[in-house]
Amino acid sequence: MDKLDKISFVVLVVLLVWIAALVVRQIEAPQLERQKPGGRIESGIYSNPEFDKKTDTARKLLAAGNLELAEQLVKALSADFPYEGTPRVLLADLYIRKQNPVAAMLEHKRGIELNPDFLDKKTALFQGKVIKRNLDDALIAIEEALQRNPADSVMLENKKTYNYLKRRIAGSCN
């Protein structure tokens, strides 16, 4: 057994311990509801009747201007369906109506990361124009905040998110 063998064995042991730790962490993690591949249809809309009903209700509440109830419902939906982008986009809509474009931008980011169909023109979920308008408004709010306090770390982070979303709109692989 030479030096290379010895080093390799040590590395192998470290890797095996690391793998075991990751597996244990996975097993012990709270069992969030898993979405089965069959639960999705081609348009990218989650086909759960309860989910559909609640999102419909949330949309109606938003359209009617009942923002308080809409917020409660959408936040509950986000918690119940953590892997769905639609509640995030609804929450973004809510923040737009509340004149808070930066918070809306952050929700749009979460929504897009969960379901890129919101940036895909060929799907019914496409929200590109709404997101672009939201980004324009958010940039104005961020610039104003940065003029007041150029060292505002939260706003500097938001500016990064703005740039990130601009890049996402430009297109990506995977």
Binding site: V11, I19, K122, Y164
Partner: protein, 360 residues
Amino acid sequence: MGAVIGVGAVLLSFFGNPANTGICVSCFMENVAGALGFHNDIRMQYIRPEIIGFVLGSFAFSLYRRQFVSTGGSSPLLRFLVGVVLIIGCSVFIGCPVKLVLKIAAGDYAACIGLVGLSIGIYIGLEFVENGFQLGVPRDLPLANALIIPAFMVFLLVVSLLQPAFIAFSVKGSGAQHAPLIWSLGLGLLIGALAHYTQFCITGGIARIFLRGPREIMNCPRSTGLLVSIGSFLGFALVTNLLTDQFHPGLSGQPSSNDSYLWSFLGMLVVGFGSVLIRGCPLRQLVAAGQGDNDAGAAVFGMLMGAALVKNWDLAGSAAGTPPAGQIAVLISLCLLLAIGLLNRKRGYGIAPEYQTGLD
């Protein structure tokens, strides 16, 4: 070679391929696997003509130069397994070594961590190769064996033209983003032919960093030329990106970028290590398969299987990070490579003759 692949790849992105993905063997393998129905990610289904071009370009040019030789028998199943592992590493990083260079040329600073990982992986692989690692000496095989991969690519070309019902094509997502077929195929053929002629390989070029003096001459005499090719590839891609307004420098939020740096690093480390063990990066495996190397053909089929696995088992990295399954898969891949390295060493021996002819 560097100029053709650098300018060509960036232009493919400009004419329709996804951003920073003018050429990416692992992404394109995932597209091909999806088109053939090996996975059901509707965003990653397209028969990429570039892949067909790499193999058929190498096949045609090696025939023309009378260098098409059917060889094999050097641990094909192990190479198949390493092919699977290579795609797992690439998918976690989101890109093969060619795409790594394209990302850096487009201003993705985070890709540099992948370059460090790839280089360290190559160094580890070289340590094994220089200390008696061998997969067996390849021997001449009947010609029919060497025709399987080129014939498979001809089949892919025919079905991509005829588009029968059993082949899936994405209508959205990155699979739907592609340059015109004639451009992709033409550039693929040219790169395949040139890569056969120059033995272009990202892994082989980076190996030069670790090989100096007699080690370079004995182990990898072509590596200096390959490193120059990689340099010119990066330079030409950078200039073309600047000219076509595709250079957007930044550390995060780049297209096809995995912002979990540790896993990007480890993913590329797996790719560098595995590539040295089977004598070449994923692009090199395709080109070698085209010129009659059946062992490289086994690695190509392994890569196709790996492409299906990473999608079906959700191993691939994304802008949101690396999924737990992908993290575990990378660590298992490293263990597998170490085990292959340990089990195939002849203690007390130096570099094996088949590696001395040039680390492809």
